[in-house]
């Protein structure tokens, strides 16, 4: 199970200590920045910033790079598509119906870098923020919308339950997979249809147990008189500090730089 997205990497770095709301807002700002960037310099600035953030989080660069692996296919795919189908600019290569222009290479590289940056930035958020802090932050940010009837608390609750169960379900998948493999099941070879059929012995028990868990959880929540967000207080109050203000200032500065460059 080598999936880093959505997995908290415990630590005590500056990034870990920031308020989740600040981190979410900064992440959104950075995503905007990623889409604003359209020059070599601005991408360099973004990458330098991302690299600095990784260092600040004290998570090894290798670990982050490993988290990029699952999206490598998409990155390469977009790169190739963009390279072949962007027109205009000076022609670099011409071979039968294939034309590669310098603006195509440029657009393709930027698009690939964009994807990589997006994943690094969001990964940094989820790696340095526990899922509880993350949903608390989202709930708190969405609270103003509750006035107009938006179910902020319910949404946050659903998210935190979903996140809470991702590792559990992954563990369960691993266990059932191993149990079926012990009975000679083969999940790795065969044609696409054979492989899809081979998933059945995995999916049926997985669904059965997911429903059983959902049932048990609902019962446990009801037994403890859970009834939505109204009037609930929290054990951990979110508090913004100077650190968050500093983070926001740096992110704003970066946005300005990227917009200008």
């Amino acid at each position: 199970m080598q999936i880093t997205i959505g997995q908290y990497f415990p630590g005590d770095s500056l990034l870990h200590r920031m308020d989740p709301r600040a981190k979410i807002l900064i992440t959104i700002a950075l995503i905007v920045g990623v889409f604003l960037a359209d020059s070599v310099l601005s991408y360099a600035a973004m990458f330098a910033f991302a690299f600095a953030m990784i260092r600040l989080s004290r998570i090894s660069v290798k670990y982050i790079v490993k988290g990029l692996k699952p999206i490598m296919f998409i990155v390469i795919f977009t790169f190739v598509i963009n390279m072949f189908f962007t027109t205009g600019g000076t022609e670099l290569v011409r071979w039968r119906f294939i034309r590669i222009t310098d603006s195509g290479v440029r657009a393709a590289s930027f698009m690939a870098l964009r994807l990589v940056l997006l994943v690094i930035v969001t990964q940094l958020l989820t790696l340095t923020t526990s899922s509880i802090a993350l949903t608390d932050g989202i709930e708190s940010l969405l609270k103003p919308l509750a006035r107009i009837g938006f179910p902020a608390h319910e949404l946050a609750m659903m998210m935190s339950i979903a996140m809470r169960f991702i590792p559990t379900l992954m563990e369960e998948t691993d266990k059932i997979m191993k149990a079926q493999m012990a009975r000679g099941a083969d999940f790795e070879s065969g044609s696409l249809i054979q492989r899809a059929r081979a998933m059945l012995p995995l999916l049926v028990p997985l669904f059965v147990s997911a429903f059983r868990r959902a049932d048990e959880l609902a019962l446990a929540m009801e037994a403890r008189c859970y009834r939505g967000g109204r009037g609930r207080t929290r054990m951990k109050q979110l508090r913004c500090t100077k650190l968050d203000a500093a983070g926001a200032a740096v992110a704003a500065a970066l946005l300005a730089v990227v917009a200008v460059l």
Binding site: K178, A185, L200
Partner: protein
Amino acid sequence: MPIEVKDLTHVYMPGTPFEKKALDGVSFTLENGEFVGLIGHTGSGKSTLIMHLNGLLKPTLGSVTVDGLDLSDKNVSLRDVRKRVGLVFQYPEYQLFEETVIGDVMFGPKNLGLGAEECRARAEEALAQVGLPDAALWEKSPFELSGGQKRRVAIAGVLAMKPGTLILDEPTAGLDPRGRDEIMALMRAIHAKGTTVVMVSHSMTDVSRLCGRILVMNHARLTLDGSPADVFADAARLREAGLDLPPCAALAERLRGAGFAGIPGEAFTQEALAPAILAALGRGNV
């Protein structure tokens, strides 16, 4: 079919903050026809160890050899290994998936590439062996059965592959005393037919009643390996591993401490201890 485990070390999630050494230099050999109990505190590495015995996990260091086949060797077919070593997981009832009981039991043999008739014959035999000979039940959905029945169906699912070695991870967990006795009787019967059996357990009593040999795990290491009498003689090391003597062995130890030196170390079951006490009293050496 001997299974040879040499200097086996397994590290989960190496290179992450969650790195965990679950096995550390474990070595032992399982001989044909043994009935071995594997016991240890929670998290000591028992489940990790048995998953190495049929190639579900790969050693970080060390080697596992089944019948001369080295499981780290890429040319060794894992299907071949799984035919030889059957593994029943903890709470195996959660792996059931087919529409009918018989269909589920036939899953293993089918994966071995056997013909439909052979699969069916094996499944029927296995179901009869686990005490579900009623053909009306075979066509039911496995989800309609009781917990104990489901577990027996799941065990049948592995038995139908006719493994020479059967490994069960806490087969009696969560069963009532009667269900437990049934499973224990089943394991005894399987062993009597010549199958090597390894049972993972938390219960010293269960292990002492069934097994001819006990392996004790403590914090990823194998600390004790021997006959029940040998293992129970080292009560200090057992306690260190977070385990207690089974009640009868504990009683025998205390009696010996109180001066009844004649009570032998072999008297660790009710059946053996009672006559030993009577004999000691008859001799009256207090």
